[in-house]
Amino acid sequence: MKKTGAQIVWESLLKEGVEVVFGFPGGAIIPLYDSLPDYPGVRHVLVRHEQGAAHAADGYARATGKVGVCMATSGPGATNLVTGITNAFLDSVPMVAITAQVARSSIGRDAFQEVDTTGITLPITKHNYLVLDTPSLARVLKESFHLARTGRPGPVLIDIPKDLFTDEVEYVYPERVNLAGYKPVLEGHGAQVKRAAKLINEAERPLIIAGRGVAISGAYGELRELAELCEIPVVTTLLGIGSFPEGHGLSFGMPGMHGMAYANRAVDGADLLIAVGMRFDDRVTGEISKFAPGAKVIHIDIDPAEIGKNVKVEVPIVGDAKRVLGALLKGVKGGSHSEWLKQLREWREEHPLVVRGGLELLPQYVIQQIYEVTRGEAIVVTGVGQHQMWAAQHCCYDKPNSLISAGGLGTMGFGLPASVGVKVGCPGEVVWCIDGDGSFQMTMQELGTIVQEGLGIKIAIINNGYLGMVRQWQGLFYNRRYVATPLSGPDFVTVARAYGIPGLKVTKREGVVPAIERALDEDGPFLIDFVVEPEEDVYPMVPPGAALAEVIEEPVRKEVSV
């Protein structure tokens, strides 16, 4: 049966199980939007800026495990998506981005709102397409969803010239894809799995480092079984948080630049690292030449290019984390490492996560109270900066995907639009967007989206009047010269009220819990502006270029020179 290009897009999205798209229309994409009302099965969420569409699709994908879809028009619509697509690329988030392009007859003529979208997005997508004939459209859509969600997931962009949307062709949605150059390896190599099992059986101080790959492959059960069977302690990277319950006796927190001192000691003291679905980012390893000096490394990852990229690996296992761990479970004997665990517990007691005393409103206290009042049942979405690290440190995440945060790209402004996607994907969950005043001001126009879509998102702004993480570095490494980091802001409660969102400003400790309770009483969205101690720093901290063992645990309070 003949269909227009626009109909082909919507029908193919429905065939892929898409229920919601996040987008913003414009000239070239009007004909695609024009046929949207014929497809009531697709919910369109109108964002206020295309970057928000990409972050919302990203948050939706992380929270639900489904492919997030965003769309934008040609030119500025496409370029505004770029930051959000890059963020998804760095964190392996399944996404399909659809952009309109100028009509085929105008391509290459610098037409109005023409930009080389596939050229721009080439290094930030898993794959991208410029579709130049309508009959290919169905195949390209099929391939895009397949590429986005399989193997190491990632964003795929489809650039569609305007005239294709109204062009009519025979429509048959392909049953399967045929990509000669794309065959992800899922099963771990048998001999390597055996070697890994042997190393695990022989190890005295083994440690599992779990990353986002565990969540992507749904390997929670296998990971926990392996840890319990062999009594192996587990640390999780920022994006791995929630892939192993933090309340579990074998959980030892997050290693890395702002990780717990005891987690970093664990990495430093281990004789075997079992790295699952993580990629040895420099924020996790510290100075790479001094990383885990005494440890052999088993690296399990679905992306062969990650193996050996940053650290030398004794046993590489390319495959899907769930299947590889499943195979490993059959090869390991099980055992106990009571001496090693005793050591780790001692380190945790001697070097706990410290929050200094004081009657000021401390940001860590605010985050701890959000966790307490929500009984750990909320999904926490963060922006990027100090508040993000405190949110990672001061809640105990027991559930998969209960912390949604921008890791690899470190994208300020991620929090609010990402929480839009999370709440759309998980309407029954309590969603808290914990943001900084700097990060929030980058994308706060999405308050409009929240109201228009009726999303009951709770927003906590950790307001210190600084671009805090940069200020912290200036304080520590740049002689306390706070250049361009003092940041004014609007009265956030008034801004929220202008959008029709109720809110409260909190400046004292005793106001924290009642404000959080008040936010939870509200069915709809609620904003709390927590005006916190302005110069609080994030600790522990491994200074850039230092080894994990050289962690600074406690702040050295500098006096202000007059």
Binding site: L122, P123, H127, A180, G181, Y182, P304, A305, G308
Partner: protein, 90 residues
């Protein structure tokens, strides 16, 4: 140890695929000594239709070349990458 390596890549004959390869060299900082591109149809090979063969000579350590090979294999339109022995190595 830096030595010469020869990589042979088979690519789907699609628009922009050389750009994708060049982007990997540039982005990951690999120095290419020579690149030779030939359409396999022009080689009279009937069993490999619609493929392009690219021969790359690169200087670097073994680990670096392994990483380059894997990065190239990640490109969806790259079907296969193999290393062939450089002259004097056989």
């Amino acid at each position: 140890m830096t030595t010469k390596h020869i990589l042979v890549a088979l690519l789907e004959d699609k628009p922009g695929v050389l750009n994708r390869m060049a982007s990997v060299f540039r982005r990951r900082g690999f120095n290419i000594e020579s690149v030779n591109v030939i359409d396999t149809i022009n080689m009279g090979s009937s069993e490999l239709p619609n493929l392009t063969r690219v021969t790359i000579v690169v200087s670097g350590s073994k680990d670096m070349v392994t990483q380059l090979k894997r990065q190239l294999e990640k490109i969806i339109d790259v079907v296969k990458v193999s290393e062939i022995p450089a002259q004097g190595e056989v």
